[in-house]
């Protein structure tokens, strides 16, 4: 009882004690730097951030009001380790102490780097970087819209390359600020306007080299979406080194430098020229091929056309052969005939009057004329006769002529 009465000296109301605690905490601790991991992160309807910061053993509620979080480059999220600056506050209606965060920085990486990673992740998940969405560049751009500073080195570089390598390309420059607070919005508007205005076959969004800070506009979400929504293909050519921006990732093609962007067009042109030369070559080849094919056919046909002549020759040859055969046969026939006539002559020989002599007949001739005596009237006594016998002959003198012996009855 005694103890109780001692404590009962002053009885606090809830508000009083809360007020006392509030005063104690807010005065004694006040503004602090606090390191912890974000959990239970949520955004209220007015844009205020509500979350907790925790470490292994403790947790503290945190709030970051919209006035403080408005310009924040990255999006705080659960699991993110942060360093906050703020003041400790007691929220009486809930009987809660919390930290009202004024500034927040991701621990380890810079805020911009984190913002970049976060936006990259977000857009990647949304599919803004998908290859399927990449628009092909036209076969050959005849007109190029350039979104860049009209005074920068980027536009000069691009124009110089185009002048040298692809002088037929018309260039439409939509000048914008490429750094500072207004840059992102201007770049978006320019991309949309070039789409709207038409006359361009593709858009180059470009800026010369600079610090990550300088290139920041090209990492803004609105720029990424403007590029993504562009009906015309977009080439992103930001910076002079390998510092990939969100604009690079979402663009249909990205190159490291403005010069390289212009070179794409020059390369396309050169490729086309090579293709034209190849087409010309192929045309020549095809026609030559066709003609030589036709020539071959013609030769073949001509050959076939000659063939009757060849056949004629064959016939001629055949005829010649026949003829020579004929000659041979003729000679043969003649020889045969010769032989036959010879035998006939031999036979004829047997029939000669001389052969009659061998049978005992003789032939008398009146000499010296040699006239064959066929009747007695041809001779008179005293004529000299030559008588031919079968073998040998003799001469004789006529003694007496007996005319017509047979008539006189011999």
């Amino acid at each position: 009882m005694q103890k109780i009465s001692k404590l009962e000296k002053h009885i606090y109301s809830v508000s009083e004690i809360t007020q006392a605690i509030k005063g104690l905490l807010e005065d004694k601790i006040g503004e602090v730097w606090l390191e912890g991991e974000i959990s239970n992160f949520s955004v209220g309807p007015n844009g205020h951030f509500y979350f907790s910061l925790k470490d292994q053993n403790a947790i503290i509620k945190a709030a970051m009001f919209v006035y403080a979080n408005k310009g924040l480059k990255f999006k705080p999220d659960n699991g993110l380790k942060v360093i906050c600056f703020g003041r400790i506050n007691v929220y009486a209606p809930y009987g809660q102490y919390q930290i009202i965060v004024e500034r927040i920085e991701p621990k380890g990486v810079g805020a911009r780097q984190l913002a970049f990673e976060q936006l990259k992740k977000k857009l990647e998940q949304e599919g803004l970087f998908d290859q399927a969405h990449k628009k092909p560049l036209p076969l050959l751009p005849f007109s190029v819209g350039i979104v860049t500073s009209a005074k920068g080195a980027a536009v000069r570089d691009i124009l110089q390359i185009l002048k040298k390598g692809a002088s037929f390309v018309d260039v439409l420059i939509r000048p914008v600020r490429v750094q500072g607070e207004l840059a992102a919005a201007e770049i978006c508007a320019a991309v949309e306007e070039l789409n709207h205005f038409g006359k361009s076959d593709l858009i180059i969004v470009s800026r010369g080299g600079g610090s990550t800070e300088d290139l920041w506009a090209f990492n803004e979400e609105i720029v990424a979406r403007a590029i993504y929504n562009s009906a015309l293909p977009v080439i992103s050519a930001v910076g002079h080194q390998i510092n990939t921006t969100i604009a690079d990732l979402v663009a249909d093609i990205f190159v490291e430098t403005p010069t390289a962007a212009a070179k794409i067009i020059v390369d396309k042109k050169n490729a086309l020229i090579a293709e034209l030369a190849a087409a010309k070559h192929e045309l020549d080849f095809s026609v030559t091929e066709l003609i030589s094919g036709l020539e071959n056919r013609l030769t073949g046909l001509t050959h076939m056309l000659k063939s009757p002549a060849d056949r004629l020759q064959e016939k001629q040859q055949f005829l010649d052969e026949l003829f020579s055969g004929l000659n041979y046969n003729m000679r043969h026939a003649l020889e045969l005939a010769g032989e036959r006539s010879h035998s006939l002559i031999e036979r004829l020989g047997t029939l000669s009057p001389l052969s009659i002599l061998s049978r005992g007949y003789s032939l008398s001739m009146l000499m010296p004329q040699g006239e064959v005596i066929k009747e007695a009237g041809q001779i008179k006594p005293g004529d000299r006769l030559k008588t031919v016998l079968h073998k040998g002959s003799f001469t004789s003198l006529v003694q007496e002529v007996l005319k017509d012996e047979r008539e006189n009855g011999i």
């Binding site: 050959l140 205005f197 010309k280």
Partner: protein, 79 residues
């Protein structure tokens, strides 16, 4: 823009002719005609690419209206 569409049409025609000719199914007369046409197309396309008629303009927006201005590229080539 007109030039562009003509160019692309010409390229397509050229491609078709090349295909037809290499297919080898055309008559000599036809093929010579097509060859001539193909060579003409290749030449005109090459000419388009070689022509130095570049325009450089500035697209400005004034009072919500687009305006084409001249781009001063006199500084070009000094680099």
């Amino acid at each position: 823009m007109k030039e562009k569409t003509v160019f692309e049409e010409d390229l397509k025609k050229l491609q078709k002719i090349v295909e037809e000719l290499s297919g080898g199914k055309v008559t000599l007369g036809e093929s010579l005609k097509k060859y001539e046409e193909g060579v003409r197309l290749a030449k005109s396309c090459s000419q388009v690419l070689a022509e130095a008629q570049r325009k450089v303009e500035l697209l400005m927006k004034k009072d919500g209206k687009f305006d084409l201005g001249k781009f001063d590229d006199s500084g070009e080539g000094q680099e």
